[in-house]
Subunit: 190 residues, 2 copies
DNA sequence: AATTTAAACTAACAATCGTTAGTTTTGTTA
DNA sequence: TAACAAAACTAACGATTGTTAGTTTAAATT
């Protein structure tokens, strides 16, 4: 089934609802009501509830993958790479807030091929980011630390930034980027 | 209905399942099967599925509240206070991993009084932690930054640390504490 | 050993779930 | 204007949901 304009409306509305209540707590009747149609009518446009979740999550995952591929082998410092990753997370946070929240909260409700693809992309992403950190330590740009814990510290904040952003939408992307770069890379102590 | 030994077993098993699949994706039949009894038998011990979620989450929330109250007005430096908060998060992460994950993922499925109580405690907790940061900036212990963003950066990592810990249980609490203190307070750049 | 209590069971309920079939309405093209 | 396609509708399905009622078994107490 093709990705028509109407189908994208349905997916966007679903992302909004999934984000607020979680995939399993949103019924097809809830989704239909939000679109002011009946539940059965949804199936003129989509194949299943599962398909909607897959579209939402894999689209975001591909955005992350694409950016990481573009920055990963570049011949620049680890810190510049990390800054680029941070910037990308912020951009996706701003542009695809709902879908990003879905990815974070409901990826485990993907099934079969969609779940496989997602996990594949996530593992690859984390491995490449881990390499950046490792390289940074070897080149003495970063402090000697537990690599996996550094990786987690960065990602945990970047992944859930949408929680902060949705309550602080007035802040400019530039300022957000500068502050996050400081917090994550330089810490908070004077 | 009193909190008997059996009831605590049910709650602990539920926390494990809720953590893996989410509150709404776990049926009472799933929970019963994990305990090797029939679903109806659960109701000899508990009043409702909702009650289980409330017990899991409010217990953890009270732990956080209690510790924050004990450290909040103390006459010590902001940094020492923050270190104590970090330490407490790590301890709860280790000791109540499943329940902490439930709190993070499923608090929005609490209802009525439980939801009110949880939100009340969370708001108070965040306000007190915000005060610690504000005080730290005023006393020149911390850098001048967006307070709310600093607060979020710290909490986002601390709250989801269970995701890292459940895959790295071999690390000692002391080492984990030292590394997290470094990452969160001093940053990662050399 | 008799009695009481705790904790399991079977059976079933009303409600809700995702989804399908078939039909009607709406809007566009020939 | 007639024909066609897109997108809504009504009605209903089988499965699953949380929960209740009533019963039986096991354990503890008298």
């Amino acid at each position: 089934m093709k990705l028509t304009r109407r189908k994208l409306e349905i997916v966007a509305t679903a992302a909004k609802l999934f984000r607020k209540k979680g995939y399993n707590a949103v019924s097809m009747r809830d989704l239909a009501q939000a679109l002011e149609i009946k539940a059965a009518s949804l199936y003129n446009h989509i194949n299943s509830k599962q398909e909607i979740l897959g579209i939402i999550i894999l689209d975001v995952a591909e955005n992350f993958t694409q950016h990481m591929n573009s920055v990963s082998p570049e011949n620049i410092s680890s810190i510049k790479k990390l800054e680029s990753v941070i910037e990308n997370h912020i951009q996706i946070t701003i542009e695809k807030t709902d879908a990003l929240a879905c990815l974070n909260n409901d990826w485990m409700h993907l099934e079969k091929l969609d779940l496989e693809n997602y996990l594949m992309m996530r593992n690859t992403y984390e491995a490449k980011m881990r390499n950046i950190i490792e390289q940074g330590i070897q080149q003495k740009e970063l402090q000697e630390r537990n690599i996996d814990l550094v990786l987690f510290s960065l990602l945990s904040t970047l992944r859930t930034l949408h929680l902060w952003y949705s309550k602080n939408k007035e802040v400019s992307p530039q300022l957000l980027f500068e502050e996050m770069k400081q917090n994550l890379l330089h810490g908070i102590i004077r």
